[in-house]
């Protein structure tokens, strides 16, 4: 069973390869350039290179329950430098997506909550009103941390940089956007 997995042909790898940007995951030569370039590699459960190795070994649970992809900043430095033309950043996004679908939100990955909230807001308003989003996010996750964030937020507020009144799309364009997004959702993703 284990040997079948290390050959790299497993459902998990196929799932990842089917997502845009994930196609080239099997070209990885495990050189570690991505990990060496990643600003957050030392905070991750597994480095980007290790995560790819685990995925190719079919270790779905280990991969999807790790914090690795949730610490990805989408800086694309790994992608710029990968000698095999892989886009590890897209692989991170794909894994975040799979993790969100299969595990729901785990308390330790706060970023998942943040992302969900942001995308719900886009769907509702066509924009991301920051003040409301930040408040909702901290209430959901960690009200204590809100205290630490209050000074930067106040700084923005007092410098006219966090409008209380949320900017929204006009009703007509919003209707159009919603029709498009509802259709996209009805199609069930990519």
């Amino acid at each position: 069973m284990v040997t079948a997995k290390v050959h790299g042909v497993n459902d998990f790898i196929q799932e990842i390869s089917a997502m845009p940007g994930g196609e080239k995951i099997n070209l990885c030569i495990q050189c570690g350039t991505c990990s060496a370039s990643c600003p957050n590699a030392n905070k991750m459960d597994y480095t980007p290179r290790e995560l790819i190795a685990l995925a190719r070994a079919g270790m779905r649970d280990e991969v999807l329950s790790s914090n690795t992809m949730w610490l990805c900043l989408s800086c694309y430095l790994c992608t710029v430098r990968c000698p095999r033309g892989i886009v590890p950043t897209y692989i991170m996004h794909a894994l975040e997506h799979l993790s969100m679908r299969h595990y729901r939100t785990r308390p330790r990955v706060r970023t998942a909550r943040l992302y969900r909230l942001f995308s719900d807001t886009v769907h509702a308003f066509g924009m991301i009103p920051r003040l409301g989003c930040m408040m909702a996010y901290f209430l959901q996750t960690n009200p204590l941390k809100a205290l630490r964030m209050i000074r930067p937020a106040l700084g923005l507020l007092t410098h006219g940089r966090m409008p209380i009144k949320a900017h929204k799309l006009e009703p007509e364009p919003m209707k159009q956007l919603k029709a498009i997004l509802d259709k996209a959702e009805a199609m069930g993703g990519l």
Partner: protein, 291 residues
């Protein structure tokens, strides 16, 4: 006169109104017409991609379809919007299945897109569509005493083909020099500021911001200029948090490059929104800039 469709992005209504106002003012001074895209919506950013990739592409595609009707290049000021819009364009061109699905979704809103819009970053426009002689001819204020760290951040040089070097970009350096200011070496110029993970992983991101500030200070920069709202917010609004967390004592103003252009062109402080900058640049500008 040069014409562009302009995609401000959510940040311009929220955290960085001064990027918007300074960009418009500078464009006017350079005979560049930035025509705001009517009824644009949020680009969706990375979060939407993660939650529902197809919906995220469709979000962008609506903007691209609106821009296509008008026919000019679509200029984004935010590096994230620039990256996300470009990525939708690329996927639309490279993956027939994605193209088909986007087309179907857009039709539900009565729109169509054919993949012809060129997405640009406003740095690319001001640094490459406008000659440095043209920039120099507009300069009215002497910035020669000002030492500037040019901070690109990561995403502005990511969409392929990039308009600048991926790891050691030069366009902002050149532009800053055309304005008459001194550019200091800034080895971390294309490194990530942490982006929106400042909200969810502040411990980690404050550390990244600290390195960027340290690097600018070590090279004796009087101020940092940036091209992305996320970078500006992290370096400016969280500079105090970095100081509290690491017991440091940074006081480095972080201006949008369009604000610095505006200062050089003699545009008034209010239009440039300098009062919105949290780490105030007033003192430095007063002592180092001769009007």
């Amino acid at each position: 006169m040069k014409y562009y469709s302009y995609f401000p992005g959510c940040c311009m209504h929220e955290e960085t109104p001064m990027y918007d106002s300074s960009a418009r003012a500078v464009a006017k001074a350079l005979d560049v017409e930035l025509i705001e895209l009517d009824d644009w919506n949020c680009c969706g950013s990375t979060p939407y991609t993660v939650v529902d990739e197809l919906a995220a592409f469709c979000c962008c595609a609506r903007n691209l379809a609106l821009a296509e009707k008008r026919g000019f290049d679509l200029v984004a000021a935010c590096s994230d919007c620039y990256l996300i819009l470009s990525r939708t364009n690329q996927h639309f061109q490279h993956y027939p299945e994605i193209r088909a699905k986007i087309t179907e979704a857009l039709a539900a809103g009565g729109l169509e897109y054919h993949g012809t819009v060129r997405v640009r970053h406003i740095l690319d426009v001001f640094a490459n569509d406008i000659s440095s002689d043209e920039i120099k001819s507009r300069v009215k204020v002497d910035l020669s005493n000002l030492k500037v760290a040019p901070y690109y951040g990561c995403q502005v040089v990511r969409p392929a083909p990039s308009f600048d070097d991926l790891e050691n970009p030069q366009s902002l350096d050149r532009l800053t020099e055309s304005l008459g200011a001194k550019v200091v070496p800034y080895p971390l110029k294309a490194r990530c500021c942490g982006g929106s993970l400042i909200l969810s992983e502040d411990e980690i991101v404050l550390g990244l911001i600290r390195k960027l500030l340290e690097n600018a200070q070590a090279n004796s920069a009087d101020l940092i200029v940036t091209v992305c709202p996320f970078c500006q917010v992290n370096l400016d609004a969280y500079q105090g948090a970095v100081n509290r967390r690491f017991k440091t004592n940074f006081h480095i103003p972080v201006l949008f490059f369009t604000q610095l252009m505006g200062i050089a062109f003699g545009i008034d402080r209010k239009t440039l929104g300098l009062h919105h900058n949290i780490v105030s640049a007033d003192k430095i500008l007063k002592t180092l800039v001769k009007v």
